[in-house]
Amino acid sequence: MKIIVCIKQVPDTNEVKIDPVKGTLIREGVPSILNPDDKAALEEALRVKDQHPDTHITVMTMGPPQAEEVLIEGVAMGADEGILLSDRAFSGADTWATSNTLAKAIEKIGRYDIIFCGRQAIDGDTAQVGPQIGERLGIPQVSYVEKFYLEEGKIRVHRALEDGYEVIEGQSPILLTTIKELNEARYPSIPGIMRAYREDCIKVWTYEDLDIPSTDIGLDGSPTQVKRSFTPEQKGAGEMLEGTTDEKVGSLVQKLQEKNLI
């Protein structure tokens, strides 16, 4: 079985502060991490490999040269190889141009059975790139995967909904986007770290390596325009009312009256 896992290096948003004047993220000095949903995607691929050792896992990311770190982490966790799509021509890409670039790279790899993507990156929260890759490759896709089963000749997943889940069956090739609740990811192994750094496990592909017009990638290939960015206003904190039902109703009515809502 051949699996491709699309991952992204993101700033650790637990550590990010927001510039109170400009409303933008202060990225300086913020550590970079492997995006949590993507880590779940990789872990699920690794679990397939645990069961079927002949599985080959490629981790792929598009980003600046330092994004190699997440591919190294992926290989250290157990992936076979990493592909870094890195070129000035790719920069400034929105989800449209990003999925275009990733899909072309996947076509270049050729054969694959499963593509795992994280649902969304914590720095953008769009949840668009995975599904767009599926569309561009013309293969079935299931998003929000919270459980994954590889069965004889088919793939069965639970797709998380707000109030439950759908059970969906499919066949490879298929693209799945995973949520971090899917599993708990393993640590990189120490021999894995050594292999990742000392053996040539990471390939770098540039614009020249992909069969794609320059107008479809990077800033030029990105129809999204950012009008304004701002920090949403903090919502008031929730409050749990205590007491008997009568008391709770009483205090609820009183609070609604205080706010002139009734």
Binding site: E73, Y187, P188, S189, I190, P191, G192, I193, M194, R198
Partner: protein
């Protein structure tokens, strides 16, 4: 001069930091309280290839170096010195002498399963009447045909009772003193090998520290490590490296206590302000931080020297001397800065202070380290 860790070392450090935070720290207080060997942590370390960090890949290890190993022990010890010493004793006292002095057959049979974590290692030199004075060994090995018959006992053996493979020292020619000591590889299931008294200790309570008793234990000739009569040299060289592990453990303990203390003095308010605002306490903390940084440089220097194949005996002795005294001083002050709370087991600081003390004692007391350093400079 480059004081930066390589990317490889940083990733190993990061991996151990996150392993420690998620797997080690949550059980550290309980392991201490119940004086329980944390087997589940050893099992997890095995899974992630953490038990053979500095063992070459051809012998089943990760193929990293002594610095990577020191970083690992340091990170583990930030939260749990017990876990730190389990790895340290296994790696530098168990694996290393076989790697350095073992035959290919011994490496194949004993080192490989230790490097993979399948088997745990330990080292037995100390006896009731032979501590620093190792020449007073009373354990005796007598060659009878293809086997040595070994009788005697060892005390204070780290990983005792938990380990599978022990490096044991015994007198093969008592009349020759230090030159009559020989090293052997002993498996825990050998008939005549039993575990004696389990020590109750001030600190590192989860670490198993036991007596080993040998009664007519027959060890095949092929388990002799190095050459007959070379045991003392093997022991001393092994301890030179072991000190790097203990120095890293001491460094980790100090850093762990410092981190908790910084957090505490920012939160704890007296006289309407966080106690960290008081200059008297700030000066204490500045001293603690400076000592930690100095200890860190010495530990890394000794580890890097060993990794690069340079002489490291004196560097390791100085690193252990300084780091262990730093650990004791920093943890003592950390308890002081925590006040009454620091004295209770609701905070990890009192445990860290208890754990720190052993680093000034085992694998050579501070006084022995001074002897090593003095011998080097006056030679």
């Amino acid at each position: 001069m480059n004081f930066n860790l390589s990317k490889e070392h940083k990733m190993i450090q990061k991996t151990f930091a996150s392993f420690t935070k998620n797997e080690v720290e949550p059980i550290a207080a309980e392991v201490d309280e119940n004086e329980r060997f944390p087997s589940e942590t050893v099992e997890k370390m095995k899974r992630f290839g953490m038990m053979g960090i500095a063992v070459p890949r051809e012998y089943g290890g990760a193929g990293a170096d002594e610095l990577a190993y020191a970083l690992a022990v340091e990170e583990l010890s930030k939260a749990c010195a017990t876990t730190g010493v389990i790895l340290s004793a296994h790696s530098s006292l168990g694996c290393w002498p076989i790697l350095k002095f073992g035959t290919e057959a011994q490496k194949e049979k004993y080192l490989k399963p230790m490097a993979s974590g399948e088997k745990l290692g330990a080292f037995g030199l100390t006896e009731p009447n032979a501590g620093t004075d190792a020449a007073s060994q009373q354990t005796v090995a007598v060659l009878e045909g293809d086997h040595y018959r070994i009788n005697g006992s060892k005390i204070f053996i780290t990983n005792g009772g938990e380990a599978d493979t022990y490096i044991i020292f015994a007198m093969t020619e008592p009349s020759k003193g230090l030159k009559g000591i020989t090293a052997f590889i002993v498996e825990s299931d050998t008939p005549g090998f039993t575990i004696g008294k389990k020590e109750k200790k001030l600190g590192i309570k989860g670490s198993a520290t036991t007596e080993l008793v040998f009664k007519n234990m027959m060890i095949p000739k092929e388990n002799l490590l190095g050459k007959e009569g070379k045991g003392f040299k093997i022991a001393m060289q092994t301890l030179d490296g072991g000190r790097i592990g203990i120095a890293a453990q001491a460094l980790g303990i100090a850093e762990g206590a410092m981190e908790k203390t910084v957090q505490y003095v920012k939160e704890r308010e007296q006289f309407n302000r966080p106690i960290g605002k008081f200059q008297g306490l700030q000066f204490m903390m500045a001293d603690m931080e400076t000592q930690i940084q100095a200890a860190k440089l010495m530990v890394y220097q000794a580890a890097a020297a060993k990794a690069e194949g340079k002489p490291y005996g004196k560097l390791a002795a100085m690193a252990k001397l300084y780091a262990s005294e730093t650990a004791m001083e920093v943890t003592t002050k950390a308890v002081q800065l925590h006040g009454g709370y620091g004295y209770t087991s609701d905070y990890p600081i009192e445990r860290m202070m208890r754990d720190a003390k052993i680093t000034e004692i085992y694998e050579g007391t501070s006084e022995v380290q001074k002897m090593v350093v003095a011998a080097d400079i006056l030679r």
